[in-house]
């Protein structure tokens, strides 16, 4: 049986960050997103290997963008979600919703 590869928590955050950034999901931007919105400071090493892993699971894809002088002539990669990536995220969210149903008072006392 072909099982869908599991999605780790950090991987889930990365996928969400890519979605948030729409067309501007470069490595740097994803890193900034994670720091700002999820309060996650993450080393570039960890980030790039997570991106790699997600790509190899078939959840992410990227295209090469042109370079700027600030980048020392190096190109940049723009990441976007694939259909399976989106599906995996939805699946995870569904499971989360199902499991959190009726627990609002406990999980989000402020609301």
């Amino acid at each position: 049986m072909k099982r869908q590869a599991a999605l780790g928590e950090f991987e889930q955050l990365v996928l969400l960050a890519v979605l948030q950034l729409e067309d501007e999901a470069t490595g740097t931007a994803i890193s900034t997103q994670l720091e700002e919105k999820a309060a996650r400071r993450v080393s570039r090493g960890a980030l790039y290997s997570a991106l790699d892993r997600l790509e190899s699971k078939g959840y992410l894809t990227w295209k090469v963008e042109g370079s700027t002088p600030e980048r020392g002539g190096h190109p940049s990669r723009l990441f976007s979600l694939t259909e399976p990536g989106l599906e995996a995220l939805r699946e995870q969210q569904r499971a989360l919703r199902n499991l959190t149903e009726g627990l609002d008072e406990i999980l989000d006392p402020g609301a």
Binding site: T28, R53, K57
Partner: protein, 934 residues
């Protein structure tokens, strides 16, 4: 490494996320800021080539530029940290990626299974494996100990091979060093030194040599300041040091002038002698040393590691030039090849030089016929190659032997691992059902194997380190370069290598069983199976059979060695070496310039020794059989044709005192022995051995026959055979005995002075060791400055002569015993396990009326069957492999039916013994209980 060490921690030393930059808009920067020097280059090397790597470089550079606009120093720190985190992961993935099946930092990768970074996962695996090993301490201990035995013995012997055979000699550019020696097959001489006068021609006329130097052992007694002491010394040409390219530790080596005839005597001393005799005094240079009664000025001290030739501590210049150089072929010579020259070229050049030397001799002269009849040829061989040639084969055989032990150890551990895998089949199946991939199960199993192997390797290294001094102390003293043996980097690398190899050998076994079919099969069976999977059991039986085969090969090998040893031991050496004691003295020429004085000294000492109570007989000679190599020289023999075209008759000769044959226990076959009076008055009587008599005068009475020495018509004198004595195995049992002529102590022909200056005394009597003190005093009463050396019993001398054989035999024997024990343990393990597994089956048998004996016979029969397969394989293997022992064997063929059969029976007996315990347990199964138990 739970978190990347380079990841930003809680308190950051760089500015927090700046709202401006965080927003993602690009500052217009002057592009003056570049990442810290070198770090970008480092990162580039670590990253995969292509757009992935380059985009990461670009990301980091861009961010660095942005941060640098605010705080350049903090930006640099940030860059270094992040670059390191990326580089470590990229490198880590490069190294581990393939092995662990991890995704790599490249576009193409395989599937992973969790979000953990790979390093963390590896660590988890290791911890998991360590925990599960700790839960099975008996299994772990046995496996680690078995591996340690295998790896340890292999490492120890490899250290020996490495130090003796593999490491280059301890001289600069040692590859260019060669030895120059001679062969004269026409006279039956394979390899002997050159003469000093040849050396001068060789050195002068052969451009293939950059330099050349000779040496020759010389007796040296040091007297004056402190106790008289005999040291190992050589006379050497001053070029010996320049050829080796070794300078003095203190002072200098000889100058060319000091090596000229008539130059004032100087000496270079070894480090050990300097420490011992001069207490390491820096002021030693210029002081004098009395060597053989002559004062030598010390000009240099060699370094602690310089030992050439082996064990020598004193060098004095030969003081030869081309005119006065010795014609005796007793000068070992080393050469340094010129840039680009090969030993073969050098040898060819020397052959043309020899041709020139030949031409310079008068037709018909003995030196010319030496070259012609002897087919004299110079030999040039690599110095290291020559040094180790005698020990090369036994050492490789030993390494092969312990390699076998390692194989057997790995087989044993493979068996253990298989049993464990069997026991854990259900655990694995459950884990697989819960979502563990086969990859993770394989990884787990491999990690455990690796951990075991590493523990075993470390323990083995420790064992080797412990055992090495013991091995070295047992090693034959002829084994060169022993001081270079130790655990060094090469040895460590080797140990790591064989540890890795052992992982492959025993770690692969359980992997084959981790197929998904097998896993799900285990679940379906629900653990209610009666025996292990038939395939599994067969695999383990095969392993045991392989072990038996390997053990048998080693047993046959060591059996052959033991038989050789026995054959040598019981071979009659031709003399009675029990109750003999020998020692040597060297009579300094400076104090005894006249041969008559030397003879008088020996006669006085002999008289004193013979007067000692407890000494039954005593004699003196210059050549001790078995221990010394006898000199030989051309003789003319009565009744043998001589002259043009006739072969030169080369005979061994030596000088002996009266009572020699009697003291040695050599039978007198005809005539009479030499008498005390023969040492005087220019007696022309000699003794010959039986080998000589039967070779030249078969069927005739040898007594009264004549020999001429030297062979030359002009110089030669006729000697008359007074008696014939039994043939002694002079060069040990391996060499055919040669014809020997015994001259009296002082004979007109055999240069009495030179030949008796170094002498060996032989005493016969019970328990002579107890008389050591009295013997010393007897010698000292004749000359108080005479050192006694090499005090040894006859047994010791004989044992020394076969030490190489006994070393190989003992090592091989230990390996064989280890192999036998490991093999027996393996068989025991397999049978025990199968009995446990077959309890139900056995119970059924017994419930149906089988006798205990029948059950036992069944189990023992299983063991015998497995072992028999191994024996058949092992005999075939031994048949193929023991041929390599041929050169070491004596009196027994490599295919010796007795040894083969005996060892096979022994192995079978041990196997049946190993099967007996499990069989008894099987027979004690209570059928009722056993069947209820399930």
């Amino acid at each position: 490494m739970g978190r990347d060490p380079a990841a930003p921690g809680g308190d950051l030393d760089h500015a927090g996320p700046d709202p401006e930059t965080a927003g993602g808009h690009v500052d217009t920067l002057s592009s003056g800021f570049t990442p810290p020097r070198g770090w970008e280059a480092l990162l580039r090397r670590a990253l995969p080539v292509g757009s992935v790597g380059r985009s990461i470089l670009g990301d980091l550079r861009e961010e660095h530029g942005r941060r640098a606009a605010h705080d350049p120093a903090a930006a640099d720190r940030w860059y270094r940290r992040e670059a390191l985190s990326v580089a470590l992961r990229a490198l880590g993935n490069k190294v581990l990626g393939r092995w662990a099946g991890e995704p790599r930092l490249t576009p193409r990768s395989s599937r992973g299974e969790s979000g953990d970074p790979p390093g963390t996962r590896l660590m988890k695996n290791v911890l998991h494996a360590a925990r599960s090993l700790a839960r099975a301490p008996r299994y772990t201990l046995i496996a680690v100990f078995t591996l340690a035995l295998g790896i340890g013995s292999t490492t120890a012997i490899f250290s020996l091979v490495n130090g003796v055979l593999l490491q280059p000699l301890d001289f600069p550019d040692s590859d260019a060093l060669v030895t120059v020696s001679s062969s004269a097959p026409g006279m039956g001489f394979q390899d002997f030194p050159i003469s000093a006068n040849y050396y001068f021609s060789f050195r002068e006329q052969s451009p293939a040599f950059a330099d050349m130097g000779f040496y020759r052992d010389t007796p040296a007694s040091i007297t004056g300041d402190g106790d008289p002491e005999d040291v190992n010394a050589v006379v050497a040409s001053h070029t010996l040091f320049t050829t080796l390219r070794v300078g003095a530790f203190l002072g200098r080596t000889f100058t060319p002038e000091e090596d000229e005839p008539g130059a004032p005597p100087v000496a270079v001393i070894g480090y050990g002698l300097w420490q011992r005799r001069f207490g390491g005094d820096q002021e030693v240079l210029g002081r004098t040393l009395r060597i053989n009664g002559e004062s030598h000025q010390i000009v240099g001290v060699m370094g602690p590691r310089f030992e050439f030739p082996q064990d020598v501590e004193l060098w004095v210049p030969a003081r030869f030039n081309a005119e006065n150089a010795s014609w005796s072929f007793t000068y070992p010579t080393v050469g340094r090849l010129a840039e680009g020259a090969t030993p073969v070229q050098a040898q060819t050049q020397l052959a043309t030089v020899v041709e020139r030397i030949r031409e310079s001799y008068v037709e018909g002269s003995s030196w010319r016929s030496f070259i012609d009849d002897g087919q004299y040829a110079p030999m040039v061989r690599g110095m290291k190659e020559r040094m180790v040639s005698a020990v090369e084969q036994p050492l490789w055989i030993l390494l092969g032997t312990v390699g076998f032990v390692l194989l057997i150890a790995c087989t044993n551990v493979a068996n253990l691992v298989l049993v464990r895998a069997e026991e854990r089949r259900r655990e694995s199946a459950v884990r697989a059902a819960l979502g563990a991939t086969r990859g993770s199960l394989v990884r787990h199993s491999l990690t455990e194997s690796t951990l075991l192997a590493l523990l075993g390797g470390a323990a083995g290294l420790f064992l080797a380190w412990l055992a090495l001094p013991a091995i070295l102390s047992q090693a034959p003293p002829q084994l060169p370069r022993l001081d270079e043996v130790g655990v060094d980097g090469t040895v460590l690398l080797f140990t790591l290598g064989i540890t890795g190899l052992s992982i492959l050998l025993f770690g692969a076994a359980p992997l084959l069983r981790l197929s998904s079919e097998a896993l799900f099969g285990a679940l379906r069976e629900g653990g209610r199976r009666t025996t292990a999977g038939p395939g599994h059991q067969r695999a383990r039986s095969l392993l045991v059979a392989a072990q038996a085969a390997l053990a048998l090969v080693l047993m046959v090998g060591s059996g052959l060695m033991v038989r050789s040893f026995w054959e040598i031991y019981r071979t009659d050496l031709g003399f009675d070496y029990e109750n003999l004691l020998t020692f040597r003295v060297s009579v300094p020429q400076s104090r005894y310039p006249d041969p008559a004085q030397v003879t008088a000294f020996h006669e006085e000492v002999l008289a004193k020794l013979r007067a000692l109570p407890g000494v039954e007989l005593a004699a003196v000679t210059n050549i001790l059989p078995v221990a010394d190599a006898a000199p030989s020289s051309p003789f003319a023999v009565e009744g043998q044709p001589e002259g043009e075209g006739q072969p030169t008759l080369l005979l061994d000769y030596r000088n002996v005192s009266d009572g020699y044959a009697e003291t040695m226990g050599i039978p007198v076959l005809a005539g009479s022995t030499l008498q005390a009076a023969d040492a005087h008055d220019g007696s022309l009587r000699v003794m010959v051995n039986e080998a000589l008599a039967t070779r030249f005068w078969p069927g005739e009475d040898p007594v009264g026959k004549q020999l001429r020495y030297p062979a030359d018509h002009e110089a030669g004198q006729w000697f008359t055979v007074a008696g014939v004595v039994g043939t002694v195995m002079e060069a040990g049992v391996r060499r055919d005995p040669r014809p020997v002529v015994y001259f009296p102590l002082m004979s007109p022909a055999a240069d009495g002075l030179r030949s008796m200056t170094s002498a060996a005394y032989i005493l016969r009597g019970p328990d002579l060791r107890a008389l050591t003190r009295a013997i010393h005093e007897a010698v000292w009463s004749a000359d108080a400055e005479m050192p006694l050396v090499a005090l040894a019993t006859g047994e010791e001398i004989v044992a020394d002569s076969i030490v190489q054989l006994s070393f190989t035999m003992i090592t091989l024997g230990i390996a064989a015993v280890m192999a036998l024990i490991l093999g027996a343990v393996g068989l025991f393990g397999v049978l025990s396990y199968s009995v446990t597994q077959r309890r139900q089956e056995i119970a059924v048998h017994m419930a149906m009326g089988a006798e205990q004996r029948q059950v036992m016979r069944m189990i023992v029969g299983d063991g015998a069957k497995i072992t028999t397969v191994g024996i058949v394989l092992g005999l075939a293997g031994a048949w193929g492999l023991t041929r390599v022992l041929q050169g070491l064997l004596y009196g027994v063929e490599p295919i010796d039916p007795l040894t083969y059969g005996g060892m096979a029976v022994l192995l079978l007996a041990v196997a049946i013994l190993a099967a007996y315990l499990p069989a008894r347990r099987a027979a004690s199964v209570d059928p009722g209980e056993s069947m209820r138990g399930e």
